[in-house]
């Protein structure tokens, strides 16, 4: 016996949206990407981008995505509104919101985003940040996660450097981590999967101070450097993912990240500002 349901990748199930009218979509959180008090932030970012990509007036492919985690997304239904605020010849600007029914039945904004999509064209190109040298993923061992969360099962992560501290002794460590990562089960890379992957890193503050404190992303911005053909080329291979913090102060720290294809092509760069306690 087969069912169509069983053949859907959990990522596609999480990102399934129903168009209620042009630009208004409904969806539902899934357990597969559940984090501790809400969905994995990456899946929320991907869901907002999905709404843009399914809008009938879409121009081009994702160039930039900023997601603001205004409040916890709760289990259940949500409504996404994706509005093109301006369409130019080769770029299009979007404002996106995710609402849920609050405790009193009133609609509450749980996430906001802006996005830019663009029709990209052939130009001169270059990189000023080549992929670092790293051992092949086949030679790297998966690490057992330092915390249990359902969404961690949706990714294969092979730490290269900057894995969880072996001792949580509050000593200062460089905050950079590098890992190989891909979706589980394997799934050909696309823009929504890449948006989710840009939030794959555990909190830099845990690594830098060798202490686990409550932490959560407040706002994340991802720049997409790959076009559709380059994502297809990356296929279901590993990505090389790298992140580091720059400044940690007064309850917030930032994170700068890069994601390359297994072949060393920069696919996305991403930044976020993260809340931490204590």
């Amino acid at each position: 016996m087969t069912s169509s349901h069983a053949s859907i990748h959990p990522l596609d199930e999480a990102l399934a949206l129903t168009a209620q009218q042009p630009g208004v979509f409904t969806g539902r959180t899934t357990q597969a990407y559940w984090n501790m008090v809400g969905p994995f932030g990456g899946i929320t970012a991907a869901t907002l981008l999905q709404a843009v990509l399914q809008h009938p007036d879409l121009l081009g492919d994702p160039l930039s995505l900023t997601v603001n985690f205004t409040g916890a997304v709760t289990e259940g239904d949500f409504t996404i509104r994706a509005t093109p605020s301006r369409t130019n010849r080769s770029t299009q600007h979007w404002i996106v919101t995710l609402d849920q029914a609050g405790p009193d039945g009133q609609s509450v904004v749980a996430t906001t985003a802006t996005a830019v999509t663009a029709a990209r064209r052939e130009t001169w190109g270059s990189t000023d940040l080549p992929m670092p040298t790293a051992p092949a993923p086949q030679t790297c061992a998966p690490a057992s996660p330092a915390f249990r969360s359902e969404w961690l099962q949706r990714y294969e992560m092979l730490p290269v450097t900057g894995n969880f501290p072996s001792v949580w002794d509050e000593s200062i460590h460089p905050s950079q981590s590098q890992l190989w990562v891909r979706d589980v089960p394997n799934r050909p890379l696309d823009f929504v999967a890449l948006a989710a992957l840009s939030d794959i890193f555990y909190p830099r503050v845990w690594l830098h101070r060798a202490k686990r404190v409550p932490a959560g992303t407040v706002s994340m911005t991802t720049y997409f450097h790959a076009n559709r053909a380059q994502l297809e080329q990356a296929g279901s291979g590993y990505l090389f993912a790298q992140a580091r913090g720059q400044e940690f102060r007064n309850g917030f720290c930032d994170q700068t990240a890069q994601l390359w294809s297994q072949d060393g092509l920069m696919l996305a760069t991403s930044n976020q500002i993260v809340y931490y306690k204590e």
Copy 2:
């Protein structure tokens, strides 16, 4: 003879807004920050942040600001709408738009933004990116700009590394620039000035490929690490500003930047995605 007008700093004149109703402000572009085909992007970013800071319901200080340059801001009047989409206990999330009358009199969205403000508190803190060693600003010579634009007169810029290529020969250069910079005339640093300064760098693509091509910021995100007291401490001293590109492809490149106080305190980190031609 003195006039009150003469005593207003050009930055404050450019950022002067009139509240029409709560969250709706009108303002007007000024020649002092004019760039080639519109205002300097930094002044537009600062103006949108100014609207948030003047909103009667404001909570806390700026933490994050993403500005999307949806189209050219034209000379003349504009209307800014700043809306708190959600207010939490210690963070507040904003959606901001800047409209102008288009050629046919219809309102056109020229800029969109999201911002997060936050009530920051004392916590553990650390930096993982100390200010690079640099010669004191007093020993650095101002460089003559490679292009003429009115807004360049509003800043004193003392290049340290990565100044304009001396020859535009299309050879590949590292894309990093470092400079000392401050407002002209001197002006005590605040959040709006810092927002403007985060866009101070000339296009990385000019440096990296030693070629001047049309280029413009599409979206910029700035994270504020300093609180009000730390900005006051920075006063009207120089900032040490550093930027580099990471990837240049298919008409767009990114830029990652840091701004420190003269004393070496990280004030802001900033990123942008930039359009370039050819």
